[in-house]
């Protein structure tokens, strides 16, 4: 809502600096997003009277002489099509500054000296949408009622000397979507009395109510009033009214439409004017639209009406989408003589939905959806009628037709002074509280601690004691409330066990040199279900912004792959990134969220270095990192198993499922070539990664507890074992046999070499292991170790057909 400072002065005595006032309003009531002073940056714009105007032969230009209040008229060349002798216009004198910081100088055009410029409104800063249509392509001409004199500043007559506050109104304070509402608010803030105009209507036309019928469904329109004004003469509105519309951001149209807009700005009550010729049926009906009904709106938009739209009809055809916008078929036109004026309240939800449905939000609909003052309906109607009589010389027909007139129970709130102080943490006296309600123009009665407040209908946002707390608090001043800390029984703060575990995990991987990424949870359906053995039922949103953000991810890897693609396209090929976050699915008839961790690696372990000492990231580097993570989390590596598995988008022979204590916890591997090769930036890279389901892992690592053990006192014995096995025998299979048969002193087992090649048979490979034996209580004898080795050897030979070397 744009609120004019000079218009505010109609209601309150104000002499404050507008910027200071804006700050005060912001702190106490409504956020003022800005204060605009239209003349700012411009100078030497005066009113000029065109004495004569002759076309310059062979051009589209005119040579004018303009009285600008100086001894001699100025000769000015003007190219506007609507320039003519006798007009009062805006003249930028030589030395003037107009919009866009343009300086006006004396010049010569086709040999004719030009001492200034006659201006159009756009040239002096009016936005296109405020310029009256007839001046859109030419200079501005003051109307006859303007009462301007040559040489006077043009700023005041055009309202450019005003200050305009941009009220950023929250949905609850729609009462300030009017000048009167704003005045009450500013009056309360500045502790200044508010004068609101009260009018007495003089009806001077014949009674019309007997010849016209109105049918209203009060569910749709709890209040509905209609007046008739006859014999209007359509023309321009007086300049003072146009000025107010301009500064409120509304384009003047004609003296009838402008009046309805003006009254809406003044009172907050949306008004509508119909050409009475649209009601030859002498009937007006308010109802819901029927299927297949259509309407062409005033903005020429053709609308297929919805059965939930409220419409106004003449009994035969729809003439308006109620509360939103009128139809072309009932528009006020240049030859309109009789006008029907409507002042009504429509159901706010239906209006909001209609405006939304037809993408046609208007000043009226936005007021209806936020609520309007139930006390203003008939008063607004009468004020509009009076203005039409004054501005359009119409006659007000006798009588108002009331279609509906529902009542609202006045709001009375009972509370206590002590409650207000308790919530605010203040010690405001009852006298002070009484003063605050008097500033608000609320009737307040105080008996000792008891407080009874009658809330005026114009403040329909105030309904419960907490609302009164807010009124008192803000007007007392939030600045004046002392800052304190809650005094209450001790509470033990902290994370949940699960959150604590997640933080532990994140710290470890971050310590491994990984950079944390955050990706979007919404991705494409295709990506959402990838990187899994078996996709679960995906969760899709109903109205996605686009197909790339339609489905909640079931894996984090897809976000990291997107990040890799982005980085590698920018030559960042060495990557070590991770993400911790949730994945989502619909299983067992419910929506599920799981905490995951994923990491992605590409390039080398180190940055390029002068020693050429580097290691390419491969499966086993990443697996090593993962092993370290498990160790740091206290997971026994013997409980972790890797099984070659096929996982969507992962390399079919370089990928493993990870199992801890036989539970599937995630996967590790290389991105499949079709995934990387289809991407220009990634096509030459081998990219590895892992993804873990932390929901499965966290229960295994809760309550880590270390019982300290002394370091072994007796020496360990190391033996190396080298075997030849068939290609398909896995390390895991060999290790299982060794562990099973190594006896109780086998302390550690580590593979130290894998070989396949020319020195051994083609279908064979060789493994070398280092076995460490340790007896914590005694020195180990060779005999014991040899026994263990013999048992291992023979089992390997028997079970895996291994050849011991």
């Amino acid at each position: 809502m744009l609120v004019s400072y000079s218009w505010l002065k109609d209601f309150i005595d104000l002499d404050q600096d507008p910027k200071d006032l804006a700050e005060k309003i912001t702190r106490t009531g409504i956020e003022v997003a800005g204060v605009k002073h239209p003349e700012e940056g411009m100078k030497q714009l005066v009113v000029g009277h065109i004495i004569d105007c002759e076309p310059i032969a062979g051009t589209h230009l005119n040579l004018t002489h303009v009285d600008v209040g100086e001894d001699e008229p100025h000769q000015i060349v003007c190219g506007a099509p609507n320039v003519a002798a006798g007009e009062d216009v805006v003249v930028a004198l030589p030395g003037a500054r107009i919009a866009g910081n343009v300086k006006i100088k004396k010049s010569k055009l086709r040999g004719n000296e030009s001492n200034g410029m006659i201006c159009g409104l756009q040239e002096i800063g009016f936005p296109d949408n405020l310029v009256p249509e007839k001046y859109a392509k030419g200079i501005y001409v003051f109307p006859e009622d303007a009462d301007v004199k040559p040489g006077q500043s043009a700023f005041a007559p055009l309202g450019m000397d005003d200050y305009i506050f941009d009220f950023d109104i929250t949905p609850n304070r729609a009462d300030t979507l009017s000048m009167e509402g704003s005045a009450y608010e500013v009056g309360a803030i500045t502790d200044t009395p508010v004068k609101v105009e009260d009018i007495t209507l003089k009806e001077d036309g014949p009674d019309w109510t007997k010849d016209f019928a109105v049918e209203v469904d009060p569910e749709l329109a709890p209040k509905f009033y209609l007046r008739k004004i006859s014999n209007v003469k359509i023309g321009d509105s007086p300049l003072w009214l146009q000025r107010r519309l301009w500064n409120a951001g509304i384009r003047p149209i004609n003296n009838v439409v402008d009046v309805t807009n003006y009254i809406m700005l003044l009172t907050g009550q949306p008004m509508h004017s119909y050409d009475a010729r649209a009601f030859k049926t002498n009937k007006l009906v308010v109802r819901k639209a029927e299927k297949n009904e259509k309407l062409t709106l005033l903005n020429n938009k053709k609308v297929d009406l919805d059965p939930n739209d409220i419409v106004i009809t003449n009994g035969e055809e729809v003439v308006m989408m109620a509360g939103v916008m009128g139809g072309l078929n009932s528009e006020i036109e240049a030859d309109t003589t009789d006008v029907l004026l409507e002042s009504a309240i429509f159901d706010s939800t239906l209006i909001r939905k209609a405006a939304l449905r037809h993408a046609n939000r208007t000043e009226a609909s936005s007021r209806y959806e936020k609520g309007v003052n139930w006390d203003a309906t008939t008063r607004a109607l009468d004020m509009a009628a009076m203005l039409l009589r004054n501005d359009a010389s119409g006659k007000i027909n006798e009588g108002v037709i009331t279609g509906s007139s529902e009542k609202r129970q006045p709001v009375q709130i009972k509370t206590t002074i002590s409650y207000i102080n308790k919530v605010l943490g203040t010690d405001i006296s009852s006298t002070e509280i009484a003063a605050i309600f008097s500033r608000l123009n609320f009737k307040a009665e105080i008996n000792n601690d008891e407080l009874i407040v009658d809330v005026p209908a114009r403040r329909w946002d105030v309904a419960i004691p907490a609302d009164l707390v807010e009124e008192v608090g803000r007007l007392y001043g939030y600045d004046n409330i002392k800052s304190t800390q809650p005094v209450l029984a001790e509470t033990h703060g902290g994370y949940s066990k699960k959150e604590e575990a997640i933080r532990r995990i994140k710290n470890i991987v971050q310590g491994q040199g990984l950079i944390e990424a955050i990706s979007y949870s919404l991705t494409s359906l295709e990506k959402a279900i990838g990187f899994s053995q078996e996709p679960k039922k995906p969760v899709e949103v109903q109205m996605p912004l686009n197909s790339n953000r339609s489905t909640l991810r079931q894996n984090l890897m897809t976000g990291l792959v997107d990040a890799a693609s982005y980085n590698m396209a920018r030559k960042q090929n060495q990557l070590a990134i991770f993400e911790q976050g949730r994945v989502y699915d619909f299983e067992n008839n419910t929506y599920n969220e799981h905490e995951h961790l994923a990491a992605l690696y590409s390039g080398n372990v180190y940055f390029e270095n002068w020693q050429n000492n580097n290691e390419k990231i491969d499966f086993f580097y990443v697996k090593g990192q993962l092993t370290n993570l498990f160790l740091a989390l206290g997971i026994n590596t013997d409980d972790v198993e890797y099984k070659a598995e096929v996982i969507m988008y992962m390399h079919p022979t370089r990928t493993a499922g990870i199992y801890i204590k036989n539970k599937y916890v995630g996967m590790i591997g290389m991105l499949d070539r079709p995934v990387t090769q289809s991407n220009k930036a990634m096509k030459d890279s081998e990219i590895y990664g892992y993804e873990l389901n932390l929901d499965v892992i966290i229960p295994l690592i809760l309550n880590p507890h270390t019982t300290a053990q002394t370091a072994p006192k007796f020496p360990a014995v190391e033996r190396d074992l080298s075997i030849l096995v068939d290609q398909e025998v896995t390390n895991q299979a060999v290790e299982d046999v060794i562990k099973e048969n190594g006896g109780k002193y086998l302390h550690d087992l580590r593979i130290i070499d894998v070989y396949r090649g020319s020195h051994i048979a083609e279908d064979k490979k060789s493994f070398a292991y280092r076995l460490t034996f340790l007896n914590e209580n005694d020195t180990l004898t060779d005999t014991i170790v040899n026994e263990a080795i013999t048992s291992i050897d023979s089992s390997l030979e028997k079970q895996l057909k291994a050849e011991i070397r």
Binding site: T28, V469, S483, Q485, P486, T491, H492, E516, Y566
Partner: protein, 349 residues
């Protein structure tokens, strides 16, 4: 030859030989020759009985003295040789310490999580529990319980991703408030919680809008919580995050779940309140919304609003990070450019 002359001669020759031995091996030979079992000095000592008894004592003393001298000189020589060897070795091992070391990526936290962790730790220290709620939330918890019944105009302010008629991607973390209020046993003490997490809105992504971002909700409920407590809590938090020299102000605002509702501004970091393009020439930057918990929210969760009351606040973590680090495009948080992310490694707390 006189034995004393012989000893003199031995001494001169011996010292000369020690001097000439330039490596450990030669020095060893010299040691054997001069002081070993078959050395002349040993021989002399062993043949003492052949010496004139009046000279024996004198000879014995001289021989021992000479042997001590040889040993001392041999030790010195050996030390010198070893020192030279060490020197030589060190010279060989010399490196250019100005050459760079092998580097790898530094692990870093995402800037939003730096802010989040900082805030969480701050509030944990003040006795708040960190509570996490579901991101796929029901209309019931996200809206109805938070005093936003169906058709409430304020629902227009937040375009929401619905999954079906009842389930949605939460557009605010406020639902966590309702869930915790429902469960909390006030007989066991006051409620103090913060609830961080991702939220989603149907906004097209641009420099200032993101369809996904992070919020943190705060809630304190007990019998005597005041607006002054809210003001004090918010001021301390703002100073903790944005610096002790920031000024703050509260201004009236509107949220369906609080009454009174306020927004907090901090004085502009850029212009210190004088007015600049960052603060849109107001001198203030909006950082969060807050208020006293609306009685309906308490009652909806089964808490007696006549006895209990409290305050709630919600901060946008993306916004905090944007303001704190001077980031001008919110999308930078989600494209995960490592060059952008790595710069925050020094911000770790």
């Amino acid at each position: 030859m006189d034995l004393f002359d012989r000893l003199k001669e031995l001494r001169e020759k011996g010292l000369d030989e020690i001097d000439k031995a330039k490596n450990e091996e030669k020095l060893n030979d010299v040691r054997v020759k001069l002081t070993g079992r078959k050395s002349e000095l040993t021989t002399i000592l062993h043949s003492m009985k052949d010496i004139d008894p009046s000279d024996r004592r004198e000879v014995g003393q001289r021989v021992n003295k000479l042997r001590d001298l040889f040993n001392a000189k041999l030790d010195d020589a050996k030390n010198e040789i070893v020192a030279a060897l060490v020197e030589e070795q060190l010279a060989k091992e010399k490196i250019d310490v100005t050459l760079p070391g092998r580097e790898m990526h530094l692990g870093t936290k995402h800037p939003i999580n730096i802010i989040l962790d900082d805030l969480e730790k701050y509030f944990i220290g003040m006795g708040y529990k960190v509570v996490q709620g579901p991101e796929i939330e029901t209309d019931h918890y996200c809206f109805e319980m938070m005093n936003l019944p169906k058709d409430h105009p304020a629902r227009d302010m937040q375009e929401t991703f619905y999954i079906d008629s009842e389930d949605l991607l939460r557009s605010q973390t406020s639902g966590d408030q309702a869930r915790v209020l429902e469960k909390h046993d006030f007989a066991k003490g006051p409620l103090k919680m913060v609830g961080p997490g991702k939220v989603y809105r149907r906004d097209d992504d641009d420099a200032t809008h993101s369809h996904q971002f992070m919020q943190m909700e705060g809630l304190v409920v007990d019998k005597n919580i005041t607006m002054g407590d809210l003001k004090g809590t918010l001021e301390l938090m703002a100073k903790h995050i944005f610096g002790q020299d920031r000024e703050t102000r509260l201004r009236p605002s509107y949220f369906p779940f609080t009454e009174p509702s306020v927004e907090m501004d901090v004085s502009c970091f850029n212009c210190n309140g004088k007015g600049c393009s960052i603060c849109k020439y107001t001198g203030w930057i909006e950082v969060l919304g807050a208020g006293m918990v609306h009685p309906n929210v308490l009652e909806n969760a089964g808490v007696d609003a006549n006895v209990y009351g409290g305050f709630a606040f919600g901060v946008g973590l993306d916004r905090f990070a944007i303001l704190k680090y001077g980031i001008d495009d919110i999308r930078d948080f989600y494209t995960n450019d490592v060059r952008f992310l790595e710069q925050f490694s020094k911000e770790e707390r």
